[in-house]
């Protein structure tokens, strides 16, 4: 449905050309829900705008619904109005002189893909209902709160029943409850109507929940693509690993022993067993574990305590997250984030014993392995976001 092939784009800033996208290729099937996930400034919005036809790529081709809408070499260009799409903007982009209802109805009444007269009212009402805006329908959009505006933007896009729905962080200004509801709605809608969705977000949970397929962007390129659980369970690079759920990384771990049950690695003088897997002795790996998966061993001396993969650390601080805590613990492996329902009162002693369960350890190649990301490492557009995993620990 949406095909990008080798799309690059750079912006002119003070006479320099700064690359924002570098040869992005992307293929989204009909009815698929594709989510682009990435750090701030990595080029997500730019990609979306290129699909929408609001930005002209420097190279590559773009096609939507089987029709080529941009081809650099052939000079093909189809304007945004002609593309069978709707879009939700990061900044909402509502029309300030109209009411909510007018904002939603306008494209239906006046657009290229206008609806029959009697249908317009029905669709507008439906959209208002869906996004719980019926009561305010006749208010000016400038009088709305941020979240309300975002809902209007969503309603406007969906009312058009586009073939392709492009969304730029459409839920970022909503409260958790509403967000969850709208996620469910969106998912349900895309299933029911078969709309192809391309959504940009920085919220990993959102991506996981909504996506059929997720693409992780970094420095203007897509570094990994796959189904949510695939990405979650087998991140291909340190960047992806840390980006998803803030994984703790243990760097420069060398495989010191290996048997059929799993390998043994040594990092910072500490030994850890890995789960089953094929690791050659002597190679250097990066090992990751999620904050949720680290187990706090409250009473390490009791008999029931596990015996392997234990490490002692000094807790730095604790943050209540509602029902559970985030502990930051200084260990020989570096600073580990630990998320656990166990509160800090349970290990007030100044040291804490952690277990890193072998079956929860995820291994990945040591140097940043994805060729794209390695290539761009030096001059990625948004250097502010530090290279994978370094500052996140």
């Amino acid at each position: 449905m949406i095909e990008l092939e080798g799309v690059s784009k750079s912006f002119v800033q003070d006479r320099n050309r700064v690359p924002a996208l570098r040869g992005v290729s992307l293929s989204i099937g009909k009815g698929e829900f594709y989510v682009l996930l990435g750090a701030s400034g990595c080029g997500k919005t730019t990609t979306l705008r290129i699909v929408a036809g609001l930005e002209r790529p420097d190279t590559g081709t773009v096609s939507i619904d089987g029709r080529q809408v941009f081809d650099h070499t052939a000079g093909t260009w189809v304007g945004p109005e002609e593309r069978p799409q709707a879009m939700v903007f990061q900044s909402y982009a509502l029309w300030p002189h109209m009411t909510i209802r007018q904002n939603i109805a306008f494209p239906l009444r006046r657009g290229v893909r206008r609806a029959a007269k009697d249908e317009v009212a029905a669709r507008v009402d439906e959209a208002l209902e869906l996004f719980r805006l019926t009561e305010q329908a006749d208010r000016r959009v400038t009088q709305l709160s941020g979240g309300q505006q975002q809902r209007v933007a969503l309603a406007r896009a969906l009312a058009l029943r586009p073939k392709v729905l492009l969304m730029d962080e459409p839920l970022s200004n909503l409260d958790a409850g509403l967000r969850m509801d709208l996620r469910l709605e969106l998912k349900e809608l895309s299933r029911r109507t078969g709309i192809t969705c391309l959504l940009v977000t920085h919220d990993q949970e959102e991506a996981m929940m909504l996506a059929d397929r997720v693409g992780i962007m970094q420095g203007g390129g897509i570094v990994q693509e796959g189904a949510p659980d695939e990405l979650y369970n087998a991140p291909a690079s340190e960047f992806v690993a840390t980006f998803l759920d803030h994984m703790n990384l243990i760097r420069s771990a060398s495989v010191t022993a290996g048997d059929t049950d799993g390998a043994e690695i040594t990092a910072s003088g500490q030994r850890l067993r890995l789960g089953p897997g094929d690791h050659r002795v002597g190679t250097t790996l990066t090992v990751g574990i999620r904050p949720d998966d680290v187990v706090i061993v409250v009473d390490p001396l009791s008999g029931s305590a596990p015996a392997t993969n234990l490490v002692t650390g000094r807790p730095i601080d604790h943050h209540y997250l509602g029902g559970h805590f985030l502990h930051r613990v200084e260990t020989p492996f570096g600073l580990l984030n630990v998320r656990s329902p166990i509160g800090p009162d349970r290990f007030a002693s100044g040291t804490v014993c952690l277990q890193l369960p072998a079956e929860r350890l995820i291994t990945m190649a040591s140097a940043r392995p994805a060729p794209e990301s390695a290539e761009h490492g030096e001059d990625e557009p948004d250097r502010a976001v530090p290279p994978a995993g370094s500052a996140r620990q």
């Binding site: 929408a52 036809g53 609001l54 002209r56 260009w77 304007g79 945004p80 109005e81 002609e82 593309r83 799409q85 709707a86 879009m87 903007f89 900044s91 982009a93 509502l94 029309w95 300030p96 002189h97 306008f106 494209p107 006046r110 657009g111 290229v112 893909r113 206008r114 000016r140 400038t142 009088q143 406007r156 896009a157 058009l160 492009l166």
Partner: protein, 591 residues
């Protein structure tokens, strides 16, 4: 005023909150004084004072004796004279038709051109800028003469051709109201373009982007989204030119008087000619006062219509600098078509006429015979004039736009960015100055300048001239800036306020830079108008303060068309230089 405007949200039901207690002033010392705000306040006070002078002059003259400004009992004689003039109703109706008609013509041309220039990627669109500016270099009477040569019913060139082709009677009679409307509208299109561009330019591209991705064609987005958002500015500009249309004499005189088509400006002209040659300011002022009242009413309506304009702000801190969306092929063709027509009808013909006139010893329609007599003699003569008029002209071009824009920016800020009571009054005051016939304005200042001469010997200097001309153009600059300032989202100022930045400083460092593109536009086009300004310079210039426009006018009214046209061509050259400079600045600043 300066203190009061530090209040941000309007306190419900009362005026501005009391000024800050002096105690804190002292504590914060130097930092406590918002110097820019003090300057701002001073500028606004000065502006009010300066604007009130001609208004008082207007009232005084309107109720004074016919010759105006003399002493005597106040009386209604002038109104009686005006009201008893023959066919007043007809005159008013025709004037209304002229005003509305020429504004419509103007809008039909200027709005699409401004849209093409600001909101599309049309290649070579800068040419519009040149066209609009070039038009302003040409004295109206020459344009009128050009069209008379083409379309007069007895031997107009085109009418003659038409006759030769077998048409019965003349194709069209240039001495008619519809031609006055058309030519006047064409004349306004250039200035209107300059007034509209700043406003259209600052509107967030998001508006159109959102339309595009929802399948709304560009033209529709322009008409139904952009226009409503720009509506306050467009309405303001329309009112502005409506008022101007009522006053402009060029076309009404050259094309209307021969056919006895009387409009208000003909009346004003006749009164300012007087019976014995002495102007009857009183009668002219009576008409002006009537117009000022009408403007008050129009502005009232404007405010009712634009009540919510301040909620349409689109200049936010969010991403705004986007390239315009591409025009479709058909759109591009239509765009070029429009530019072509405007260039041909509105600019090419008058410019050619100007050049033609400058090369002929005496004016006559183009013909092969005349071709043989072309000479550059007029330019030689004109070069002597140049040496005399250049210093003052250049001084005016430098000072007037700067002063006018500075005044207008301060006033625009007060009206659009504060909730001070009475700010609308300033708005109306500024617009009302438009209703004052130039001649009455000039004479009012003449009197003020002379009566204060003993204490401030400003009268007769170029500075005085500059001040008065600037005063004339404050309304113009103001109209240009007002629309843009409305587009600046109040959050930008709020962000400054919560960061501890005072209002005056915010104005200088946040609001002004946010609209700086418009400031440059306004400056530029007031510079153009200054080059053209006539009546005031004519009356107030004295020994050694002669300027280009008065020379051009002088020569033309003395029938020295070749000289005046030669100066006109030189003026066109000056404007071109100004324009190139402007384009460079505009490009560098990437507004």
């Amino acid at each position: 005023m300066s203190e009061e405007s530090t209040a941000r949200p309007a306190p419900p039901g009362q005026g501005a909150p009391p000024p800050d207690p002096p105690r804190r002033r002292r504590r914060t010392g130097r930092r406590g004084i918002d110097l820019p705000l003090v300057v701002l306040g001073a500028m606004i006070v000065l502006l009010c004072a300066v604007l009130i002078i001609p208004l008082v002059g207007l009232v005084w003259a309107a109720f004074g004796p016919g010759e105006g400004f003399g002493g005597g009992e106040p009386s209604l004689d002038n109104f009686r004279t005006v009201l008893s003039s023959d066919g007043l109703t007809g005159t008013l109706l025709r004037t209304l038709a002229l005003g509305v008609g020429s504004v419509v013509v103007m809008l039909v041309i200027a709005v699409p051109l401004a849209w093409l220039y600001t909101r599309t990627d049309l290649r070579g669109k800068t040419v519009i800028l040149f066209l609009a500016a070039a038009k302003m270099a040409i004295p109206g009477f020459l344009v009128a003469l050009g069209y008379i040569f083409m379309f007069n019913p007895s031997n107009g060139i085109i009418n003659t051709w038409w006759g030769e082709l077998g048409g019965s009677g003349p194709l069209t009679d240039v001495y008619s109201l519809k031609w006055i409307i058309l030519l006047q509208g064409l004349d306004f299109a250039g200035p209107a373009f300059f007034m509209l561009v700043p406003t259209l330019r600052v509107i967030d591209v998001n508006i159109e982007e959102a339309a595009a991705v929802h399948g709304i064609p560009r033209w529709r987005a322009a008409v139904q989204l952009l226009l409503p958002i720009a509506a306050p500015a467009i309405a303001g500009v329309s009112i502005f030119f409506f008022i101007v249309a009522v006053e402009v004499f060029d076309y009404a005189g050259m094309l209307g008087m021969p056919a006895r088509i009387t409009v208000l400006s003909t009346l004003i002209y006749q009164y300012s000619q007087g019976t014995t040659g002495t102007p009857e300011y009183g009668n002219a002022a009576a008409i002006g006062l009537g117009m000022a009242l009408a403007i008050g009413l129009i502005m009232f309506g404007y405010y009712r219509a634009m009540r919510r304009a301040n909620q349409l702000a689109t200049v936010t801190g969010k991403r705004a600098a986007r390239e315009p969306i591409r025009l479709s092929r058909r759109g591009r063709r239509a765009g070029y078509g429009l530019i072509g027509v405007y260039a041909l009808v509105g600019v090419a013909l008058p410019v050619l006429m100007l050049i033609w006139a400058s090369l002929l010893p005496y004016l006559r329609p183009p013909s092969f015979e005349a071709l043989g007599e072309l000479s550059f003699a007029a330019y030689t003569d004109a070069s002597y004039d140049l040496a005399e008029v250049m210093p003052t002209t250049l001084l005016l071009v430098a000072v007037v736009p700067t002063a006018a824009v500075a005044f207008a920016a301060c006033a625009g800020w007060l009206v659009t960015r504060t909730t001070l009571k009475g700010r609308r009054g300033l708005d109306v005051l500024i617009m009302m100055t438009l209703a004052i016939p130039s001649i009455v304005m000039a004479v009012s200042f003449l009197y003020v300048g002379l009566s204060t001469y003993r204490w401030v010997p400003l009268y007769g200097t170029a500075a005085f001239l500059a001040l008065v001309v600037a005063c004339r153009f404050v309304a113009t600059a103001y109209r240009t800036l007002h629309g843009t300032m409305l587009q600046v989202h109040s959050e930008l100022e709020e962000a400054a306020a919560v960061s501890g930045i005072r209002r005056g400083r915010t104005f200088v460092s946040v609001v002004l830079p946010a609209v700086r593109g418009s400031l440059v536009y306004a400056w530029f086009w007031i510079a153009l108008l200054t080059i053209r300004e006539l009546t005031i310079t004519l009356i107030l210039s004295s020994d050694g303060t002669d300027v280009m426009s008065t020379r051009i006018f002088g020569y033309s009214s003395a029938g020295e068309t070749s000289l005046s046209a030669a100066l006109g061509v030189i003026q066109l050259g000056m404007i071109t230089v100004l324009l190139i400079a402007f384009c460079r600045v505009a490009r560098r600043q990437s507004f």
